[in-house]
């Protein structure tokens, strides 16, 4: 199909949206449309109906959430980049937002859309994993939060019930001893689907790593945490050699954009580079 003639439901508020979602689970939610339009034009998807979320005020804006932040599902990348609270809490997420598509896509595409689209190459996803983000979902039955780490159950499969919508992405407060990192290795400097991304967070207290999150994208069916590497990092000063264990955690594949060999080697190298930089920084600041 090139043109879609499917009906578009346009709820006025969240309650109506959830009722429509329950009544028409086959209607595809539509946020910024930057993924949906591509699927429709290429014929990959031809949904029988759409549920347009764009008008829902409840899903807009950044709010405080305890000491953390609640990013409304319709927050665009441009909004996240410009928001001082997001910059302070999640600099790595801002960095990731800046790499998505180019300005036009950042103006229109939403973070929740990236999460719901569940592409293994979704640029924000490894950072959300590294930040221990939670996904707030709602239905006519109520609201719950799913940890990022439990959200994906398979290739493009989410732990969402058919009647649920994502209403927000929640970020915990930033710990003062945390360093965050984001690295995207794409095919070019804009409009690039990632070959490998790394989202990282280290909590370093008294010269020792007390918590480690290392997450990769584009190296498995969905974004994954490198738990072997994380375990090796904790309990000692930052050791860049932990990067050599990455092969135990990720099993990338050959595809149209890159090779398994390249992805694995680059994952190791960019992780090693980051850890080495953090170690060097720590060494110089403790002198």
């Amino acid at each position: 199909m090139i043109t879609s003639h499917a009906p578009v439901h346009c709820p006025a508020d969240l309650a109506e949206a959830l009722a429509l979602r329950a009544a028409h689970p086959e209607a595809m939610p539509l946020a910024g449309g930057t993924d949906v339009m591509v699927f429709v034009e290429s014929g990959t998807l031809s949904p029988p109906a759409f549920l347009n979320l764009w008008g829902l005020a409840e899903l807009r804006g950044v709010q405080a959430d305890g000491d953390g932040l609640r990013l409304g599902a319709l927050c665009t990348y441009t909004e996240l980049e410009a928001d001082a609270r997001v910059q302070a809490t999640a600099p790595a997420l801002v960095e990731a937002a800046r790499t998505v598509g180019a300005k036009q896509i950042q103006n229109r595409g939403t973070l929740a859309g990236n999460v719901a689209n569940a592409s293994p190459a979704g640029d924000s996803l490894p950072v959300l994993l590294a930040l221990d983000a939670e996904v707030e979902v709602a239905s006519v039955r109520g609201t719950r939060r799913i940890p990022m780490d439990a959200l994906y159950t398979g290739y493009r499969k989410l732990a969402l019930a058919p009647d649920e919508l994502i209403t927000a992405i929640c970020l915990p407060a930033r710990h003062p001893a945390d360093v965050q990192y984001y690295r995207k290795v794409g095919t070019r400097l804009a409009q690039a689907i990632s070959k490998v991304m790394l989202g990282g967070r280290l909590r370093i207290e008294g010269g020792v790593v007390t918590e480690a999150r290392v997450a990769f994208g584009s190296v498995a069916a969905f974004p994954v945490r490198a738990r072997t590497v994380e375990a090796a990092l904790v309990g000692r000063p930052v050791d860049a050699a932990a990067a050599d264990l990455v092969g135990a955690d990720i099993k990338p594949i050959d595809d149209i954009r890159s090779t398994a060999t390249y992805r694995l080697e680059v994952a190791r190298r960019i992780l090693q580079g980051w850890l080495a930089a953090v170690a060097a920084e720590g060494a110089s600041s403790s002198r």
């Binding site: 199909m1 090139i2 043109t3 290429s42 960095e95 990731a96 800046r98 790499t99 180019a102 640029d123 990192y181 984001y182 690295r183 995207k184 290795v185 794409g186 095919t187 070019r188 400097l189 804009a190 409009q191 690039a192 689907i193 070959k195 991304m197 149209i256 954009r257 890159s258 090779t259 060999t261 390249y262 080697e265 680059v266 190298r269 960019i270 090693q272 580079g273 980051w274 080495a276 930089a277 953090v278």
Partner: protein, 733 residues
């Protein structure tokens, strides 16, 4: 003086305000949309074509080879390519049937219900085993072209010299990636003829091809606004036009055939891939080249298209701009069961000049000399003789090299690496490097091509305006701006009073194709001559001498006054196409490219900081347009260097046939560019102009390869130098 001024582009305002009408913006009443049914196989027998009885065909027109009114041939160099496959398919995506319906969705849906029964056959995919293979694709040996250029006694000198350096270089396919995909509309006329309107470079190619397909010549071809061609709209539009016309005649309605991008990428021609072997003898003491034997192998794909001409340009440019007394270059262009390759900016030169420049780097490495020094020692000078035996005059090679080096001395812009979004900031590990490469490029057709072609142009007085009639299309390069400036300059009038007639073969003469960097240099000269003739005709009519406007005021008749000029061969070129001896080109352009890169040592990514170029353009007729051509060409050359890779499936079909996955550089990937112009006038070009369309694409890739090597020691002899290949080379070095 209008020449040498940055006159605003004639096509600019309409394009930036959205007024320009591309072929898909026009929809005559009752127009149908066409779609092409293509082969899924590289090679197969067609056992039958049936229409799904359960589909509603009432508003659908279907055509197969049987519906072609004339010959089932795309007339070009040879008659090997059918308009629609008949009985056999020879490459994936080969057109087998056509459908047209009232809208795109209907046409697309119908295409899925045309049932073609195939028996797949074993394809021949490897060009290295094609020549003489028992599996025949083209004539009795699968060879589209075999050319040898020989000067002196290369074999003897190679055998007698101690230092002989050998190397093999490979380049892949490259897609032209014009802005709007191929598109053509065929409109049956009330008088029984047919009009073709579409995106194209060469209206008269389509006339020539459609006469055979339709079996009559009652047709005219009109160029729509065309957003770039780069060679991709040289010969291919004849096929789209033939398809649209066959559908339109059967349906009795206008038919529009607009390729989707994925179809366009899978089906249309690309730059020829090549495997190039170099053996060069050098004098260790002097660093001078002594002898060279070069063997080139090009993959032409399943049909001939213009492949022999690509081979021709390749053999003639194979040694780069360096003097060598004994040379033998053998070029072989063969057939495989892959989509045909065809014209693309540079036409064989970018392939061989990557190899030639990389081989210079290899020689420098083995001799322990700097690549720059080796080039300086061997660059062509006035009086040197080329492999075809042409004695060179006005050689600009040293001048462009020294100017580019001087321009490159100015402070290098800061590396963009630290600010790059998601680039790792301070944790990124990069190494800077610089590469220098030099190109020569024969302008216009080879040998006596122009004398044989006799391109024509008309200029007419119509009221108080002057109108130019040529078949030379503006495809974004600025023809419609340059020609009026030339005419206004000759007539001494303001440029607003000079217009280009639509490029409609019903009214314009055959100026030759818009290719080979020939439009400004050759057709521009014919247009200048026509303007001079017009002034003379006006003087004769009025019976007086004087300024154009004074004469115009004295004119009694209000009828248009139109004159025609034809290419005049006063260059006295001597060329023998049988032996490839003589004056291969009327003149040469010279260019030097200096690239500064940062190589990411963790990822193998190559990031561009700055590209400095100096190019001998003869005369910059419009410096902004000229610079635009050079910068655009350079960026296309950088795409060829590091990111543009066509990934094929086992049937030879392009897997990455979407803009998401066929990676061309974006504005963010582009380096800062410093573009210096050198003007060594060419006596045969208008106001001294030379062709500049292709030369900028020739050596950026070679400069990048040298820069990568300088940065990190990784040696790459294959294009594109993707991060995957750079990282692998880095691990080896």
């Amino acid at each position: 003086m209008l020449i040498g001024q940055d006159l605003i582009r004639a096509d600019g305002p309409a394009k930036v305000t959205g007024q320009a009408r591309y072929v898909d913006d026009v929809r005559p009443d009752g127009c149908l949309y066409g779609f092409t049914v293509r082969s899924p196989w590289a090679h197969a027998r067609i056992d039958g074509i049936e229409l799904d009885p359960d589909f509603d065909w009432t508003d659908i027109t279907v055509c197969t080879a049987a519906d072609i009114p004339g010959e089932n041939v795309v007339a070009l160099m040879t008659d090997d390519q059918p308009v629609l496959a008949d009985g056999v398919v020879r490459h994936v995506a080969e057109p087998v049937a056509l459908v047209a319906g009232p809208d795109r969705d209907r046409a697309l849906a119908a295409s899925h219900h045309v049932r073609v029964a195939y028996t797949p056959l074993t394809p021949l995919m490897d060009p290295e085993v094609s020549a003489g293979n028992a599996h025949r694709i083209f004539r009795d040996d699968n060879v589209y072209s075999r050319i040898t250029v020989e000067h002196g006694e290369a074999e003897r000198v190679l055998a007698e010299t101690d230092t002989v350096i050998t190397g093999t270089y490979r380049v892949g396919l490259q897609e032209q990636l014009y802005i709007e995909p191929q598109g053509m509309m065929a409109i049956p006329r009330a008088d029984g003829g047919v009009t073709l309107f579409g995106s194209m470079q060469c209206p008269y190619y389509i006339v020539k091809a459609l006469k055979r397909v339709l079996g009559h010549d009652d047709l005219n071809v009109v160029q729509a606004v065309t957003g770039g061609g780069f060679g991709g709209k040289e010969e291919y539009p004849s096929i789209v036009a033939a398809h649209a016309a066959v559908l339109a005649l059967k349906a009795g309605r206008p038919v529009k055939l607009i390729y989707r991008r994925d179809d366009d990428l899978r089906a249309t021609t690309k730059r020829h891939p090549a495997i190039m072997h170099y053996r060069v003898a050098v004098d260790r003491a002097t660093g001078k080249l002594q002898a060279a034997h070069v063997k080139l192998l090009f993959d032409g794909g399943a049909y001939n298209t213009l492949s022999p001409v690509v081979n021709s340009r390749a053999v003639l440019h194979a040694l780069g701009p360096y003097a060598c007394p004994h040379v033998k270059v053998e070029g072989l262009m063969v057939a495989t069961n892959t989509p045909p390759n065809g014209a693309f900016r540079g036409f064989g030169a970018p392939q061989v000049m990557f190899a030639a420049e990389r081989h210079m780097d290899r020689i420098a490495r083995e001799l322990g000399r700097s690549p720059l020094e080796l080039r300086r020692l061997n660059l062509y000078q006035d009086g040197d003789v080329t492999p075809s035996g042409q004695r060179l005059v006005d050689v600009g090679a040293t001048q462009v090299l020294e100017l580019a080096l001087k321009e490159a001395e100015a402070g290098l812009p800061a590396s963009g690496v630290p600010d790059r979004a998601g680039g790792g900031g301070a944790a990124a590990r990069v190494a800077p490097g610089r590469g220098v490469a030099i190109a020569w490029h024969g302008c216009g057709f080879t040998g006596n091509g122009e004398a044989a072609l006799k391109g024509q142009a008309d200029v007419a007085i119509e009221g108080d305006r002057v109108v130019i009639y040529t078949a030379s299309t503006d495809i974004g390069q600025g023809t419609d701006t340059i020609f009026p400036a030339i005419v206004a300059e000759v007539l001494g009038i303001s440029v607003d009073r000079v217009a280009n007639a639509d490029h409609d073969t019903a009214t314009v003469p055959d100026s030759g194709p818009t290719v080979a960097s020939r439009t400004a240099m050759v057709v521009g000269g014919v247009v200048k001559q026509a303007a001079e003739k017009l002034l003379a005709a006006l003087q004769a009519e009025v019976g007086a001498e004087g300024a154009f406007d004074d004469l115009l005021a004295q004119r009694k008749s209000a009828a248009p006054l139109r004159v025609r000029a034809q290419y005049r061969d006063d260059l006295g070129l001597v060329w023998d196409p049988a032996t490839y001896r003589g004056d291969a080109y009327p003149t040469y352009g010279w260019a030097c490219v200096i690239v500064d890169v940062d190589v990411d040592l963790d990822t193998g990514e190559v990031l561009y900081r700055r590209l400095v170029s100096a190019t001998d353009v003869g005369k910059a007729l419009n410096p902004v347009l000229c610079t635009g051509q050079l910068e655009g060409g350079a960026l296309q050359g950088l795409g060829y260097a590091t990111c543009e890779e066509v990934v094929l499936d086992d049937q030879g079909g392009m897997r990455n046939n979407r803009l998401t996955n066929y990676i061309i550089p974006t504005a963010l990937d582009a380096p800062e560019m410093v573009t210096a112009l050198v003007e060594i006038p060419f006596s045969g070009g208008p106001f001294g102009a030379k062709g500049i369309g292709e030369i900028p694409h020739d050596v950026p890739a070679a400069a990048v390869a040298q820069a990568i090597e300088a940065a990190c020691g990784a040696v790459l002899d294959r294009l594109p130098m993707t991060p995957e290949r750079v990282l692998a080379a880095l691990q080896e070095s």
